[in-house]
Symmetry: C2
Subunit: 203 residues, 2 copies
Amino acid sequence: MSLEMNMKNHGYAILRNNIENTINLKINDEEFHAICSKMSPKILKKNKLFIQEGQYSDEVHFITKGACYAFDVDDKGDKHTFQFSIEEHWIGDLYSFFSGNLGIYNAETIEDTNFLVIKRKDFEKLCDDYPIFDRFFRILIQNAFVALQYRLVKSQTESAADRYKAFLKKTPHLLQRIPQYLIASYLGIKPQSLSRIKKDVLK
Amino acid sequence: MSLEMNMKNHGYAILRNNIENTINLKINDEEFHAICSKMSPKILKKNKLFIQEGQYSDEVHFITKGACYAFDVDDKGDKHTFQFSIEEHWIGDLYSFFSGNLGIYNAETIEDTNFLVIKRKDFEKLCDDYPIFDRFFRILIQNAFVALQYRLVKSQTESAADRYKAFLKKTPHLLQRIPQYLIASYLGIKPQSLSRIKKDVLK
DNA sequence: CGCCGAGTTGAACTGAATCAAGAAACGTGG
DNA sequence: CCACGTTTCTTGATTCAGTTCAACTCGGCG
């Protein structure tokens, strides 16, 4: 696919929005072309595993349409979801991406999903050539860090029922798109427990 | 204290090291002076609360000597430690710092501690004037993010005993400097439970 | 020397997991 | 468009990791 064709793809407009909203600043066309030239489209059907533990993960994914989740598998083979991502969100095995080591996480689509993908080398080149992208990724990850820290704290201080209520309040739109057993896994409990909690919440 | 005097202070050399190790690149003297001119020394005795929930927290702290911890207080009044920081580490209420909202976390010294402190406005100015600091803070927070994500996952997948063993293995040097009840809090359990776990681990 | 906070140990309790069995929803092919 | 098999969700009974409450020991500091 040529760059010109890519540029017309709606996904790139979503990306530009995401960047400009994040840094609270317009980027110029040169900068926009620079990042577009480094990001390639990827389309996957639902239930496709696209990041796999034990493999090098040298790209991060920006979602322009669809939904996915990232998870860890424990010794018993149980999945533990730690992130849901929908349109305008980034997803990847950042441990592997930043360190260059073998990946430790997995990610799978929940719906048919369209991505824009950037490789580590291209990411680094982009930041070297255009400091605005150091800024962008700094703020992007700052926000992610703050949200994650909040989640870690709440996972220690709140009961499963309270975590579920908080999830309902904060991301009600995800309820329609994500199966219950993945939400349970995200909350750190078993599907049976979530089922019981839902029953209690109604009362 | 004049800038010249500050520059001779050992703490600033530690900071330069921290920056250069993080970005894997030397910074020039102009850049170094720029950040030094924005960071002020702060010295606290042990057991001093220096970040408080409900107050604006518009600075982040770089530790040049000593040890502290950050924690959340739940409805019951119980403390939940989510971070230990010693020399060459940064600590702050990043939620408040980045958002400008009222703080939601607390931090206290565990030992007599020396900091270098930077205000949000100065931090932003620094990044605007010298893109290298966007780079530095991007990588700093990238690393913090990856470590935090790992911790969140492990807090969901591992038993308290396994989390304790991992803590022992990863940060044995902290055992000597941090009271048991704070380590318990960091692991997400009660001091009584940690006491029992330690007994089991010996066997 | 005495006290107070930190650490240990015991017994009873509880939130969530586990094991197990049905019921409902879903998608796939005829 | 319906039938069937598979996956998801629910509900019940039991178990278990970690909490709670309480008593006691130890060690450092004033």
